[in-house]
């Protein structure tokens, strides 16, 4: 299907195509309620609660007042719905702002200021410099005489460099005034989301040149959300509008992310649900049997002889309702609440504020903090994420002379400055190459200063450095380059640009010196792409040394070279080049071949060294997180060498003897396959050695590997703790994340640019760095931080605490519901299996919503270990990664505890309140207060650190329980009138309470203490060390300390379990420091070995589960 866009035809297109109204809204006022409810009821838990609530409306079977379920249910729905409504309102608001922006559009041949939403397909839209493009346009005119304009596309693809766009050939030279009246037709495909492709045709109608159709490509378009730069004005025909633009088509509401923990909670909920069904069936059958055998004899119950047809269902359904509290309705509310608090803690954290820019960290997605604590893979972008993305020219070597070695900054090296001042020919040549061998566009700002718009940061750094060395690239006027050097103006005519490709690893320009008419080839590129092509006889030893020296310092090196060309040589070559440029088959290869003919016999001028400084704390952060068992992958669009250099300098990989880099390359499937298998083999062999093995793969090989050898590559990915993927596209980044996710790993993607957005959205957790490449990544991300180093705190502190807290909170929520539910079940055995509720509706509702929810909410302040301890022993993150605190076996513990506590409460209550005291209301209050007492002590026992708030909530809640019940007991109309006063006056009530607490908590405490002291987990060990005397807090001092303390530490550093699959063995030994320590400590080897075996096998089990 195609669409035909008639230029300037105001009538025809209106009905066919939508206007330019952008709408990101999910709802309208009318469909909000039904749509939102429909969405909410898509979730299993909500369906379950709705079913229960509906069943409760049937008074024959409901054990309690329906309000006890409807109230919380409506509350929960109201909360989620209003949150959705608020978000949607904000979206509506930002749409409205975009829609009502005023733009110039031609209407009836006259330019008018209209709102952006009124643009129709076929309209001609005029843009001025720095305007945002309101819809997808086909260029028809610009202020530039050559029909060029520059756009910034960062919002679209994340690339910050300026791109040139050109008007179609037929529109060339149309008069400014005539542009208003232009008529024609554009034949273009239906809207799609491919931002790199636009295959269309344009034909202008008379009186304009009415010749053949003119083909259009993406080069002739400017797309929505781009910005017009360095061009006074431009105009274009709207082809796609509104939500049908390329941007609008590619925009999708990202899938809501579900944390591993949520998935686990869902799983456990499912298990509880199954358990509940089993209980209901068993009790239902028992109830019906009892009814037929016993209850019919009990004349006082007066069972009718013939019941209705549904009689058999009544008792099971009653039990279903009675047991429905097994799945606590409060858990969703509690979790939402604490999750938003976790997010707030991240926002508030003053240690994660980037004081340079004043940007605080921010959690956009408030629902996934726990996942931070379970991260297993971190996929990181390089430039701007690990580095500051601020390239600085640091050193250079010109004709064998090193500049900048002493001061570390060549621009301040007086030797170099002097050489420039005296116009030493070597140096001038060198600086000239720096200044003009590039694709930089100089822009004069209004103040007269010159700004450079560069595609690559390296070129930017070189041009700026040249300017500081008084070689100012002042102007580019069509093909004339203007250089100011020491006061004089030199002009060059730019003849050809031999563009950079990753294969050639160099770029060159051919210029003609306008002063003397000489043709010169200027080249810059990687050392291996320049030095071998030096003319015979040139000594390149010093340059090789320089390159090595600089590379070791982590600097990015470029070799600069030049060659004078004879005119006829150039002319001859130029023809070949033109021919190659216009070939249709293997064009790139042909061009490379032609370029090769010119790029030879260089006179190598020197070597530049550019520094892309690492951000503060990057190596430390990476080291700490790797110790925490997190695997790092670097996904960068950058060159292989640079990536490896940066990886080396930030502890990503270790240099040679310790580390090993395995290269996966190849151009064809076979090559890639062979290389892949070789790497995999090496990986398997070396996996037993304590060697830091990483693989390096480039985008091309990756493409093949992902397409044809996905299985092998996946295995490799699982084996490897470290990988460097260079020259990868944004979609490949996303694919890699997808790959790891499909292996059931928790992935975190961190990046700063628009090209990382897809990866960030794809990953379980996306972290954006609000850096120099704008806020695009930060906006798309779940978390935005100012600097890479905050990642450490985000994961180890916030992620870990969130995980621990949610683990406790969710299991506790089930526990407390189960306790009350078990009591109800036990009670049904002494109430003729008839489904009587022991507790009244008010108590049941208050128990779930209030008594047991408030104390546990303050567990968001609980810290099992201090932040400092966690930072020093990042290994304990393993407990979170492996899901040790929330898994079926811990849950079984809580399940058992709830069963035990229910038995304790029930047995003690019915025996202590037997016979004459067995009044229903009293007995139920005794059982309820027994539960409340136990809850207080359970929460207290599970709390690791008590702040004033915890005390208030735990003990205050206990007091509040009595106050509330006294109040209810004072209301004559209530069922429990005077009950609580009565009970509180009885000594036996208090005796019973203490008995319940002692009997319920005694075994729990004993078990906990026993585990804590004699089978301590690493967390316990650290807790003890942290609280008993603190020497562990200063790990640096630990070595000279006596042995006893070391004993506590060393197993910890050893047993960092990294095993993920049976074949996998830790590739990375622990830091040399810790392993040395353990060897010296004299700790019995078998002790910690058995420990590590235990933990590793455990982790495997976890994964299998």
């Amino acid at each position: 299907m195609k669409r035909y866009v008639y230029i300037n035809d105001n009538e025809s297109s209106h009905k066919l195509y939508c206007d330019n109204r952008i709408s990101n809204r999910k709802y309208t006022v009318l469909n909000f309620l039904p749509k939102n409810l429909w969405e909410q009821f898509g979730r299993f838990m909500n369906q379950y609660f709705l079913l229960i609530a509906c069943l409760q409306l049937w008074s024959l079977i409901t054990p309690v007042n329906p309000a006890s379920t409807w109230g919380p249910l409506i509350f929960i729905f109201a909360v989620s719905a209003s949150k959705e409504a608020w978000d949607d309102y904000n979206r509506y608001f930002s749409d409205k702002k975009a829609n009502e922006k005023l733009v110039w559009v031609v209407r009836q041949g006259i330019r008018k200021h209209i709102q952006a939403q009124d643009i129709h397909v076929g309209n001609i839209v005029w843009l001025r410099e720095n305007d945002e493009v309101p819809c997808d346009l086909v260029l028809i005119g610009t202020s530039d005489p050559q029909g060029l304009c520059y756009v910034e596309t960062s919002a679209l693809d994340g690339e910050t460099d300026l791109k040139t766009r050109v008007i179609p050939a037929t529109c060339m030279g149309i008069d400014f005034e005539l542009l208003h009246k232009i008529k024609g037709v554009i034949e273009c495909p239906n809207p799609d989301k491919d931002i790199r492709r636009f295959d269309a045709n344009l034909r202008l109608f008379p009186p304009f040149i009415d010749n053949d159709v003119c083909p259009l490509t993406i080069k002739n378009t400017i797309l929505q959300s781009c910005y017009l730069r360095n061009t006074e004005w431009a105009c274009g025909v709207a082809v796609y509008t509104g939500n049908e633009t390329k941007l609008g088509m590619s925009r999708g509401i990202p899938e809501p992310k579900l944390t591993a923990m949520d998935a686990m909670i869902d799983k456990l909920t499912g298990a509880i649900f199954v358990f509940q069904i089993v209980v209901v069936m068993v009790l239902g059958i028992a109830g019906n049997v009892w009814k037929d055998t016993e209850a019919r004899k009990q004349w006082y119950v007066l069972y009718p002889l013939e019941g209705p047809w549904y009689e058999l269902l009544v008792i099971p359904l009653r039990f279903e309702l009675l047991c429905s509290i097994m799945i606590p309705i409060s858990i969703k509310v509690s979790l939402d609440l604490v999750k938003s608090l976790y997010a707030k803690f991240i926002d508030w954290d003053s240690e994660m504020i980037d004081y340079e820019t004043g940007i605080p960290s921010h959690a956009t997605n408030t629902a996934i903090s726990e996942d931070l604590g379970q991260v297993e893979y971190i996929m990181t972008d390089k430039t701007g994420t690990l580095t500051e993305n601020r390239m600085i020219f640091r050193r250079c070597c010109i004709s064998g002379v090193f500049y900048g070695n002493e001061s570390g900054d060549a621009l301040k090296d007086t030797k170099l400055l002097n050489a420039v001042a005296v116009s030493s020919p070597d140096v001038v040549q060198f600086v000239t190459v720096m200044a003009i061998c590039n694709t930089v566009i100089p822009i004069k700002s209004k103040t007269g200063a010159i700004l450079y718009k560069a595609q690559s940061q390296d070129e930017d750094a070189l041009v700026n450095a040249a300017a500081q060395l008084h070689m100012v690239y002042a102007n580019k006027n069509a093909n004339i380059l203007e250089i100011r050097f020491n006061g004089s103006v030199i002009k060059y005519e730019l003849l050809e640009i031999l563009e950079f490709t990753s294969d050639r690893k160099r770029m060159s320009v051919v210029v003609k010196d306008c002063q003397n008419g000489k043709f010169v080839l200027l080249s810059k590129g990687a050392d291996e792409a320049i030095l071998p092509y030096a003319y015979d006889g040139q000594q390149t030893r010093t340059f090789i040394e320089a390159v090595e020296q600089y590379a070791q310092l982590g600097l990015r090196t470029l070799c600069l070279a030049w060659r004078e060309l004879k005119e006829d040589e150039y002319q001859e070559w130029s023809l070949m080049f033109k021919e190659a440029s216009s070939t249709l088959v293997d064009r790139e290869w042909r061009i490379a071949e032609v370029c090769q003919r010119l790029e030879r016999d260089f006179e190598v001028l020197g070597v530049t060294a550019i520094e892309d400084r690492l951000q503060d704390g990057v190596p430390e952060t990476i080291e700490t997180l790797r110790k925490a068992g997190i695997n790092f992958w670097m996904l960068t669009g950058d060159k292989q060498n640079t990536a490896i250099q940066i990886a080396l300098s930030c502890n990503f990989i270790s240099p040679e003897p310790k580390g090993q880099l395995l290269l996966i390359d190849g151009k064809t499937e076979d090559e890639v396959c062979r290389s892949l298998e070789r790497v995999l083999l090496t990986m398997r062999i070396t996996s037993s050695e304590p060697k830091d093995v990483a693989f390096v793969v480039d985008g091309w090989a990756l493409e093949i590997a992902l397409k044809h050898y996905r299985k092998v590559f996946t295995e490799l990915a699982i084996l490897s703790r470290t990988a460097i993927c260079c020259r990868v596209t944004p979609s490949q980044k996303a694919q890699l994340v997808e790959l790891l996710k499909s292996c059931d790993y928790r992935t975190l993607a961190i990046g700063d640019g628009g090209n990382d957005v897809r990866m960030i959205q794809q990953a379980d957790i996306g972290v954006g760095i609000s850096g120099r490449e704008g806020l695009q990544a930060a906006r798309a991300a779940d978390y935005s931080i100012g600097k890479f180093r905050f990642l450490k705190r985000l994961i180890l502190v916030h992620g870990r605490y969130s995980y621990n807290r949610t683990a406790f909170l969710s299991q506790y929520s089930f526990y407390k519901s189960l306790v009350i539910c078990f009591i109800q079940i036990f009670f049904s055995f002494i109430s003729g299996v008839s489904g009587t509720s022991l507790f009244n509706s008010v108590s049941l509702m208050a128990y779930n919503v209030f008594y047991t929810s408030v104390p546990v909410l303050v567990s968001v302040l609980d810290k099992d270990l201090s932040e400092g301890t966690v930072m020093q022993h990042p290994q304990i993150l393993f407990y979170c990664q492996a899901g040790r605190l929330l898994n079926p076996s811990t849950f079984a513990g809580w399940f058992g505890r709830s069963l035990f506590h229910a038995i304790v409460v029930f047995v003690i209550t019915i025996h202590a309140y037997a016979y004459e005291k067995s009044e229903m209301e009293e007995l139920s209050m005794v059982a309820l207060s027994g539960c409340i007492w136990l809850q207080a002590f359970v929460v207290a026992l599970e709390t690791n650190s008590f702040t004033i708030l915890q005390h208030l909530a735990i003990w205050g809640n206990l007091v509040a329980f009595y106050v509330i019940n006294w109040i209810i007991s004072a209301i004559p109309a209530s069922g429990m009138y005077t009950i609580m006063f009565r009970l509180c006056r009885q000594p036996s009530y208090w005796i019973t309470m203490f008995l319940i607490v002692a009997a319920g908590m005694g075994p729990v405490l004993a078990l906990k203490y026993f585990r804590y002291t004699y089978r301590p987990s690493k967390i316990n060990t650290l807790q003890q060390a942290e609280r008993m005397g603190g020497p562990i807090l200063t790990l640096g001092n630990i070595e000279p300390q006596p042995r006893s303390i070391e004993k506590e530490v060393s197993p910890l550093s050893i047993t960092q379990p990294k095993s993920r699959s049976p074949v996998y063995e830790p590739l990375l030994s622990d830091s040399p420091n810790s392993s040395r320590k353990s060897m010296g400590s004299g700790t019995p080897f078998d002790f910690f070995q058995s420990q590590s075996r235990l933990s590793s096998s455990y982790s495997r089990n976890c994964k299998d589960n």
């Binding site: 954290d349 229903m920 009138y977 005694g1002 004993a1006």
Partner: protein
């Protein structure tokens, strides 16, 4: 300048509790389960619980309780094999007598309870079959659907409606010591709060036990519900299938060796479902009636916790060495 200002502000904020909260840095105490602490706790619990248990046990033992089952004895021998027909046959006289021998001195007030076993007052059909509003407001209150099937008979509402009232316990007891009738106080046996606030002073039984099914006891239609104390006691349903309900109080002491003869009307049908009926005389103290459970449980918990403490202490000592 602004930098220093914000610095100062930051430092100033540092003291505020809210700032500490936002930074999750509220001062916290972190208790550790150290061996001394835990062992002390267990010893403490042990040393408190054992004496309290013994004390409670003594209190329980100081309560004198006489319990006699009468539902079997009172069935004439010819009906032993078909007790149900006995109880349902109105022509058979239901009177019966029971002999209590007092083994220990019983100080007044002595509480008289009737005890029912295997009687499910907590059955779901039963529990809900009442109307609190009707009990308080009488016949004018119409929302009595819970009382089904005993909501109305002959198209007239039943007051009090529902299964609970309908199945009112109706055995009666008179107590004779030696030759004299023992004075039994049958007032104030129900909770005062119930009499005052739950059962209407102007609500009189109406159309009660007039239907096709006859349940338990009848009510005097001239006495308001708030004074029908047997009904009020009965309507405080029990949560357990074995329960005692107060019948009255003997306000004289009973001496050792006294014989109390109980003349009773065995009207209430427990035979059809195998329930037991017992009559209990019991004194009372701060603990309530006789109940060894609390004392025994305390002693048990206390001694277990002492054991645990000793085990932990030994473990601790061994691991220290």
């Amino acid at each position: 300048m602004s930098e220093t200002n914000s610095d100062r502000q930051r430092r100033g904020d540092r003291e505020s509790a809210f700032y500490l909260f936002t930074q999750q840095r509220l001062p916290a105490c972190k208790p550790v389960l150290t061996p001394p602490w835990v062992i002390t706790i267990y010893f403490l619990v042990g040393f408190i619980f054992v004496p309290v248990g013994l004390f409670t046990l003594r209190a329980s033992h100081s309560v004198v309780e006489i319990e006699e089952r009468y539902d079997i004895e009172c069935v004439p021998s010819q009906f032993r094999n078909d007790k149900v027909s006995y109880i349902q046959d109105d022509s058979v006289p239901k009177n019966c007598s029971l002999l209590f021998k007092v083994d220990k001195y019983m100080k007044a007030p002595i509480y008289i309870y009737y005890q029912l076993e295997n009687y499910y007052q907590n059955h779901r059909r039963y529990v809900r079959s009442r109307s609190d509003q009707q009990l308080l407001h009488g016949r004018n209150f119409h929302g009595t659907s819970y009382c089904q099937p005993l909501e109305s008979s002959n198209n007239r509402p039943i007051v009090p409606c529902g299964l609970i009232a309908w199945s009112l316990f109706n055995d009666t007891f008179t107590f004779i010591r030696g030759k004299a009738l023992l004075k039994v106080n049958r007032t104030n046996i129900a909770w005062k709060s119930d009499r005052d606030h739950k059962f209407g002073k102007n609500v009189y039984p109406f159309n009660f036990q007039n239907g096709t099914w006859i349940g338990g006891g009848k009510l005097n239609p001239r006495i308001p519900l708030s004074n029908q104390e047997d009904l009020i006691v009965w309507m405080r349903i029990s949560a357990l299938p074995s329960f005692r309900k107060l019948y009255g109080r003997i306000e004289e002491d009973l001496d050792v060796g006294d014989y109390v003869v109980v003349q009773l009307m065995n009207d209430y049908n427990t035979y059809s479902f195998g329930g037991k009926k017992k009559l209990v005389l019991s004194t009372s103290n701060w603990l309530g009636g006789k109940n060894d459970f609390l004392g025994l449980a305390y002693v048990f918990v206390g001694s277990s916790s002492l054991t645990v403490a000793i085990v932990f202490m030994l473990l601790h000592l061994r691991s220290q060495r």
